[in-house]
Subunit: 96 residues, 5 copies
């Protein structure tokens, strides 16, 4: 799963009916020290994540395995909010 930071929100009025009710967030891949490294893309939110939070993202068919995204045309879902990351024995990220 990707480590990513929520950086914004997307609004779409004309959309496939299976998308209705889904919250769409703009995210960017981040490192274990919370530095942004990737281009912005959009993920569906299944956990109530907010802008600024570091999250976990599942992609592909795995993005449709949450109750909120089942059978919907989404290929990226936020399914966890990260509290701590530890790499090589050091705490590299702690949610503030």
């Amino acid at each position: 799963m990707l480590i990513a930071r929520v950086v914004g929100t997307a609004v779409s009025t004309i959309k496939d009916e299976k998308l209705s009710g889904l919250k769409l967030l703009i995210v960017r891949e981040a490192t274990h020290t919370n530095e942004l490294v990737g281009k912005p893309f959009v993920a569906a939110d299944s956990v109530g994540a907010g802008v600024g939070e570091l999250v976990l993202i599942a992609q592909g068919s795995s993005a449709r395995q949450t109750d909120k995204t089942k059978d919907r045309p989404v290929d990226a879902v936020i399914m966890g909010i990260l509290d701590e990351l530890e790499v090589d024995g050091e705490l590299t990220f702690r949610k503030s």
Copy 2:
């Protein structure tokens, strides 16, 4: 999901029968400020998108979750037209 801009259309006469009736659009990945960054590729349209619009694209098996693309050999579908994108508290795109 990718943020992308519709840049053109594709016509294919000799094609798998499961593609018949699908509208095929040429798209390129774009940033949250509507700058083109990716190479052109083709996506099926499920929402009536037009050239110049900023859209959301689902890829892989998720591209087959709309009524228009179910069980068809397509790996990219436009399933939303973007109205607004907001990043870091600023409106970076608004549909004109």
Copy 3:
């Protein structure tokens, strides 16, 4: 779906039995102006495409949605031969 040009053919005698009867073509990703940009890879053919033609390719599980590729271990299928591509209001490719 990828825009690609058929550049050659692949022959494999020792192969999984589920591949028997499939035509395997070598393709490279191309732009909307028919310039080659990608590395060669192999796609199954479902539409009778020939060397030199510009085609559409579906990848991943979507490559198994044609009658010719159903339940087979292929992750790329040619499912359309391109006649015309139009980008930004200009015809950038027409099949000759």
Copy 4:
């Protein structure tokens, strides 16, 4: 499957209920000589892997084929701990 080294751990309290009980490890792609080459990402653990070990990772829908990850929103799973890698007739990695 990717060759990867386990470099750390991830903690997520607020997460999709289908993730509960899964151990989440931070991994980076590695070469056959155990050099790190990729960016950190997160994989579910199905085999009791520990930090420092070289492992095999299955991605996409294949990541949901273990008993521990079935039907869960995970797109990467550690499903083997590597003992030895041999390339061009030379042992390039042996677990110590």
Copy 5:
């Protein structure tokens, strides 16, 4: 499907039970002239391929469509041994 060369073997003792009995080979993507271009990764073997051979690899869920890999957590399978590749009318590879 990827064109790849088998360059070695991988041994994993502690692994998901669904992997038992599978032969794991180290492969690298190659061109149509048999030059190595990609990083090493691991593929399950369904056709008895050996080190040095040029092979075809199916990835993703398509890697689970052979009898040997069905329902197993593998995302890459060797499902053909290449005999000949012809590009632009020239034979660029022939198995010796």
